[in-house]
Symmetry: C2
Subunit: 384 residues, 2 copies
């Protein structure tokens, strides 16, 4: 096991009716920027509950943050923070809103060109305190200190992060799932699944603790997915277990002292930036090929994954690996994904651009930089 | 799933050589009380490493805290804190030292009779900041906000806790395990195992997330125990995985939204207070009977435990339950425990006193208070 430092100070307020507790968690007399997206929170009652919980605070609203939050949108909120001397941000939404709000929190305390925090990865030395009310389980942004933002102008999408960007608290009310479109649940299931395998399906250097955690999360996702994706509204316990499972997908618990991959995410970000595909969808498309192309390097761990997560124990090692790659792809299809680039009118030109970008940046991916731009080409061409 | 609040802000510094990082974690100019036990840290090199890491700080030492830390010892340290205006406590040791230091941290900021914090459970409203260097994996005190202290004078032992008592940071260096006596490793394995089953082997109300976490910890303990208990020094990865597993046994991760039992711990505390048995040993003695006596109430969860942790799937439900109770007891014996009260010269008189104590306090135990004093009698008499 590698040496590591771990901290995750996020307070979770979990359960039906917890939104009302916001009032006691935000310091009195705070001037609050309430951020949200396209307005679904007005339909499902969350907006009203949050506004009620914020009675007595001076609140400025900033709606309209889009999926894959855009720099040009967020920078408007940064201006509002500076002009209005905002001292607390409450993000009400899914991963895009929370990620975007983390950028706003950092940029509001930064004097230079805020895009440099992203593209030059300048150290984030100060940030407004922020908290979240989660409305869409998927990214675990509600319990981590990172985010991803896009710049459509230049078709770019990059991750960023800082320990200063952990939410002070996050409200996880499972009833928000009742009104989610199935497509968003589908994306969230796959996003969480890939978060875990990116941290798990690497090497077998004795990470017993994180391995068991990761396998537990994957098994829960598989077990929960059919109920979540069935017609009609899922029951409370299914929603609650799914919400907590999604949060565990990327809250740091499964990465303590372990190696991590993240090649699929980096390739997926490029697919979103260049072709506009949903984040979860890009992962479902790419991951089966990541397993296939890197099967030699990931050999031992794929076998462990096959046995412990999918109970595949029959056949030769190669047969078991083939079987579990097929099983993984089949799972994404069963959840509802169309897992080929051709299903989404993405062709060779996009692949060429992506590979060129990694070549230009001289950027290898994956655990120990084992995924070269040539591998990226093989991975994407496998998915045509 | 029940509603819950969760927070665990402890920073872990994990790995070989991490003790040196203490210097950067404690605020400059702090006056530090360094607490420790009977002197094993002088033999294994930890004392020297800590002293070196504290160079530049004003340090007062307080050694001699015993296993099952005693009120009369700790109150001397409280006096030292007040007289010397101590503003940071660094506990160097196992659960007893860290638990005792949590009491010192709270009592040093309390003006009344500090025993009332324990016996009357007065709210802890202020505490000195504290941190730990763990030398004995077992209690997870390094990553939680509770403790247990004893008063030999009156043969009492009680738990206490407050969010103010989370360590600011804890150093987990797996190499400290190299020099541990096997008896202490044995106690730690069983302590961790019982921590988990106290949080897990209760009801089956759909706690999918915490169930998988708990089952993972139990399987790791079973897998690690033979290497840990074999003759000679265990390898680094075994020690590292065990240390992290023990911390996960009681850091709150496995109790989110789940029901908890703790009857075995409460009965075990009485056995330690009255008969002086080691904490881990009391748990190994009591737990098989807790399963046996409460088998009807825990029916469904025992079956889940049998299947998922011990792969017991053959036979009728009753046969599987019998088999897994036997298997659990056998595991404690294999680890090295003598699991009968008669093995330790504890007889009916101690049982009578324990039952009387619970009767006098009108105290039911277990999930939902299902374990009555009459059940406690059945449990203990089964273990004669």
């Amino acid at each position: 096991m590698k040496n590591f430092e771990f901290i995750n100070p996020v307070k979770l307020l979990f359960g039906d009716g917890q939104i009302a507790k916001i009032f006691n968690e935000i310091p009195t007399n705070s001037k609050v920027l309430m951020t949200y997206g396209g307005g679904s929170i007005r339909k499902n009652g969350v907006y009203d509950q949050v506004i009620k919980a914020l009675e007595g605070f001076d609140v400025v609203e900033f709606g309209g943050i889009e999926a894959n939050p855009d720099y040009s949108t967020l920078i408007k909120a940064v201006k509002i923070c500076k002009e209005n001397k905002i001292d607390y941000i409450l993000a009400v939404g899914g991963g895009s809103i929370i990620d975007g709000s983390k950028f706003i929190a950092a940029a509001a305390k930064f004097d230079g060109d805020a895009w440099d925090l992203i593209v030059k990865q300048l150290p984030i030395e100060d940030a407004l305190p922020l908290a979240s009310v989660l409305t869409l389980p998927a990214t675990a942004s509600e319990m981590n200190s990172g985010g991803v933002i896009s710049r459509r102008e230049t078709k770019e999408k990059y991750p960023f992060g800082s320990p200063l960007l952990f939410p002070k608290f996050s409200v996880l009310d499972p009833t928000v799932i009742y009104s989610l479109p199935k497509k968003q649940i589908m994306n969230g299931i796959v996003d969480t699944y890939i978060h875990i395998v990116e941290q798990y399906l690497t090497t077998t250097d004795h990470y017993m603790v994180t391995d068991r955690l990761a396998e537990g999360v994957l098994k829960n996702l598989i077990e929960l997915s059919s109920t979540l994706m069935a017609d009609g509204t899922p029951d409370y316990d299914t929603c609650a277990n799914y919400m907590l499972t999604a949060t565990m997908g990327l809250n740091g618990w499964t990465s303590m002292g372990a190696t991590a991959d993240w090649a699929t995410h980096m390739i997926g970000h490029e697919l979103t930036a260049l072709a506009g595909l949903d984040h979860g969808l890009t992962l479902a498309i790419v991951y089966p090929a990541t397993m296939k192309v890197m099967r030699k390097e990931k050999h031992a761990k794929i076998l462990q994954y096959a046995e412990r997560v999918w109970n595949i124990t029959e056949g030769s090692e190669d047969e078991r690996i083939d079987a579990v790659i097929a099983k993984t792809e089949e799972f994404f299809i069963q959840v509802g994904m169309k897992v080929r680039l051709s299903d989404h009118a993405v062709g060779q030109d996009v692949i060429d651009t992506i590979v060129e970008r990694f070549e230009e940046r001289n950027q290898n991916l994956g655990e120990g930089g084992i995924v070269t731009p040539a591998h990226v080409r093989m991975i994407l061409e496998d998915r045509l």
